[in-house]
């Protein structure tokens, strides 16, 4: 078979991480090749190498049988490769046609004027070809996310791309929009465009894919026929173990109520949210990006101004106007972005661990560094944090270990209500399981956990109840038994709304 693309023995190392080792991938004309893998499996790195964002350390890339070198994104574009990123790459204040032809505008005459007529004609042609009801003169900011994605696709086609990489294109789309996208993808296939489709949504693999390649921990696992392979097989390939071991959820005794949130509001962000949380419980928070989950957690933690509503901790109403108050009342927040709002990157491991508890080790202002280090050392051992030493600068640890350092910070503090915002994002599979085990330990000790996650399998497996947010509202709370991927997606996309009793439980 004639391959449009083959990537062989690709290796890539980042400081401290072997991101890819001996990975291969090939592509035939007119195929949709799904690239599947957990976060941190190396999908994005591999695609960024193909798109010229990173150079590979080793390995070869063949296009139509010819060996090529891709040093930058310009090289990739001239080889007919284009990438549609999850965070779309369009300029909101330019029109559709301006975005489509950006940096390769058609010029006419001398000394050169933009030939808008021709550009509009070409753009219109492709839009019509794909049955898209988008005017080339519309501004990008006025389009929906799905429409913007289509504009990116049009841009790829108009630059004669034969290989289009789509990085989780459905992540931010509603169901009907996904159907529309899949229709477009099929049209592209007929035009013999090859598509590399990155996703970790398993149902999509069968629906849209021809073949599927699975990566795990930066290694190539297998390439399968997408229509024939079983979903369970794919999961096993992705996580390297059975799903039961992967999510070691244990049942715990539920105790008394520790947190009650009543009519929480923040203008334009949070709309009248009420729920409660019990000891020993894991309350999952699902929802699309931008649905207000992170903002809700920050509101409970006192991190943002302008929050109205009532918060009761162990039955007592509290005014939480700063993280300081929240922490003093036993609330901990593991933030979504550990680098920008969690870690002090140039601090040593032990200093990061002790940060929230320093007054315990410095009652009169002078830090008892011996005790501080001793306790931090105990936590490093207990949480199996892989670090060369306590003095190691935290920046040089892997993502999973950094995450455990922040968890250690809150364990050190003995927090009662632990809010985890995307606790396993971007960390490797092994560390994920350890974090799940840690959540189990916490609930067993009677602590209450709130877990925000965009990873549906994770949230389904680890939560006792699942709250689903949509556009700043709490759209429903499902029990473990009634929750399922479809129900969550319907609530998260606003297709369905549950009538919550006023206390926020069902």
């Amino acid at each position: 078979m004639e391959y449009r693309l083959s990537m062989n023995k690709i290796n890539k190392t980042f400081p401290g991480v072997q991101a890819l080792s001996n990975v291969k991938l090939d592509l035939v004309p007119g195929e949709v090749h799904v690239l599947l893998g957990e976060n941190g499996a190396g999908k994005s790195t591999l695609m960024k190498i193909l798109a010229g964002v990173y150079p590979p350390d080793q390995g070869e890339i063949l296009i139509n049988g010819q060996k090529v070198v891709i040093n930058n994104t310009g090289d990739a574009a001239s080889l007919g490769i284009s990438m549609i990123y999850q965070e779309l790459n369009l300029i909101p204040d330019l029109t559709v046609v301006e975005n489509i032809f950006i940096n390769r505008e058609l010029i006419q005459g001398w000394p050169g004027r933009y030939n808008w007529k021709e550009m509009n004609r070409q753009a219109g042609e492709i839009l019509a070809d794909l049955n898209l009801a988008i005017d080339p003169g519309n501004y990008i900011r006025d389009l929906s996310v799905a429409q913007q994605q289509m504009v990116e696709i049009v841009r790829s086609i108009s630059s004669n791309s034969k290989i289009i990489i789509m990085d989780e294109p459905t992540a931010a789309l509603a169901e009907q929009e996904i159907t529309e996208l899949f229709k477009q993808i099929k049209l592209l296939k007929e035009k013999t465009v090859s598509i590399i489709y990155i996703s970790h949504r398993l149902p999509e693999v069968k629906e849209i894919g021809d073949r599927v390649t699975v990566l795990r921990d930066g290694k190539y696992v297998s390439t399968e026929d997408a229509k024939r392979v079983k979903t369970e097989q794919l999961i096993k390939m992705m996580v390297g173990r059975d799903i039961k071991e992967f999510f070691p959820k244990e049942d715990t005794e539920k105790g008394s109520e520790v947190l009650r949130v009543k009519n929480l509001k923040r203008k334009g962000v949070l709309d009248d949210i009420s729920f409660s949380l019990q000891q020993g419980e894991v309350l999952g928070f699902a929802g699309l990006m931008g649905s207000g989950r992170t903002e809700l957690m920050r509101a409970i933690f006192g991190a943002d101004q302008g929050v109205e509503g009532k918060i009761y901790v162990k039955g007592t109403e509290l005014v939480i106007d700063s993280p300081e108050t929240a922490v003093k009342n036993g609330i901990a927040l593991l933030t979504e972005d550990r680098k920008s709002s969690g870690l002090i990157l140039n601090f040593a491991v032990y200093q990061n661990i002790s940060l929230a508890t320093l007054e315990k080790y410095a009652p009169r202002g002078v830090i008892d560094q011996k005790r501080e280090r001793k306790r931090a050392g105990e936590l490093v051992v207990a949480l199996k944090i892989k670090t060369p030493g306590l003095e190691t600068v935290v920046n040089s640890l892997s993502g999973g270990n950094q995450q455990k350092v922040i968890l250690a910070r809150w364990l050190y503090r003995n927090a009662e209500i632990i809010i985890l915002d995307e606790p396993t994002r971007g960390i490797d599979v092994g560390a994920k399981v350890e974090i799940y085990q840690l959540i189990n330990q916490l609930t067993k000790q009677g602590k209450a956990v709130i877990m925000v996650s965009s990873d549906l399998p994770e949230i389904l497996a680890m939560s006792d109840r699942i709250a689903v947010m949509y556009e700043g509202k709490l759209n429903g709370i499902l029990s473990r038994e009634e929750a399922g991927p479809e129900k969550i997606m319907q609530l998260a996309t606003g297709v369905m709304t549950m009538n919550l009793t006023k206390e926020g439980s069902i």
């Binding site: 991190a303 993280p323 003093k328 870690l343 002090i344 410095a362 002078v366 830090i367």
Partner: protein
């Protein structure tokens, strides 16, 4: 192996780079000028450096938090003038000095308040208070120096303790104390944490505003201390005193390895930075080179010192 040695050398250089520059300057000046390496001259350097060094300590703390304090020179001046006016109006010396220190701290508090509560960026906040303090100093003195200060005040600028001149003793004690604060206390740890990542520090339940406020108060307090040393030396308080000190203190901190983006810095580095400038100043005078050249030299040292840091960090990243 060879690489290992090279790496170690680089670490050594980057860690003690400014110290080596100072050492080299001392050696070269000792060779070319017979007057340089004498007890009298070295003492003079220490006395002349003391004022800038004392304020530079406060400046360093502020810079480590990720801020900057442009008002230090004006605060020095205004505190000195207030002290002088109190003394000439008949208040006892000790009381005047204590009140001047309280006043300096209060000025620092104003900076801290503007930065933390009014959320004005430190550069702008202190640019504003710099102008206001300088203007106030000129208004209340009518532009004339406050003179006829008590004799006893001279002890702070020209006195000795066990044969050692007072100003260097003040700055060494201050430097040791704040080094200790940075290394061993909670305040010190928070100062670094705030400068590295204020959001993460706040989300760890730390009242970052409170600690920022304390740091600006310290900077104001140290400006007043330096002001007292200065009027002790000069015998009068000039409303134009301390002009340009904000830049000298920033230069001292930066030469000493403090990062303007916050989170990194040491008092010892700043002291060495201040001494490098003091030695340059002194050496040029001894050699009869115009003081205009000094400014060129100090400017070059600032750029080179930071460039050396950049080089070293670039290597680490690779």
């Amino acid at each position: 192996m060879k690489n290992g040695v090279k790496d170690e050398l680089r670490v050594l250089l980057s860690k003690y780079g400014p110290f080596f520059i100072l050492l080299a300057m001392l050696i070269i000046l000792s060779i070319i000028s017979p007057y340089f390496f004498t007890v009298l001259n070295l003492t003079t350097i220490l006395i002349q450096t003391a004022v800038v060094a004392i304020i530079a300590i406060g400046q360093t703390l502020v810079i480590i938090t990720g801020g900057i304090d442009l008002s230090v020179g004006s605060y020095l001046c205004l505190s000195a003038i207030i002290a002088g006016l109190m003394m000439t109006s008949g208040l006892p010396l000790a009381l005047s000095l204590i009140l001047a220190l309280v006043f300096g701290s209060f000025l620092g508090f104003i900076n801290g308040f503007i930065v933390t509560k009014m959320k004005v960026p430190p550069f702008i906040a202190t640019l504003g208070t710099m102008g206001m303090a300088r203007g106030t100093a000129l208004v209340i003195t009518g532009g004339l120096p406050v003179s006829r200060l008590p004799e006893a005040l001279a002890w702070f600028g020209r006195g000795t303790i066990l044969g050692m001149p007072v100003p260097p003793i003040i700055f060494v004690v201050t430097a040791l104390f704040f080094s200790w604060v940075l290394i061993s206390t909670r305040l010190g740890r928070y100062i670094y944490a705030i400068g590295s990542n204020r959001e993460a520090t706040k989300l760890s339940g730390i009242n970052t505003d409170k600690y920022l406020l304390i740091v600006y108060v310290i900077a104001g307090f140290l400006s007043a201390v330096a002001g007292i040393v200065l009027i002790g030396r000069l015998g009068s308080a000039h409303p134009t005193a301390g002009i340009g000190y904000e830049l000298n203190t920033i230069a001292a901190a930066v030469i000493g390895g403090t990062s303007l983006s916050g989170g990194i810095g040491k008092i010892s580095g700043t002291i060495i930075g201040a001494l490098i400038m003091g030695v340059l100043n002194n050496g040029f005078t001894l050699l009869g080179v115009s003081s205009f050249y000094q400014q060129i030299a100090i400017g070059a040292v600032v750029v080179l010192a930071v460039f050396a840091d950049v080089l070293q960090q670039g290597k680490v990243k690779q």
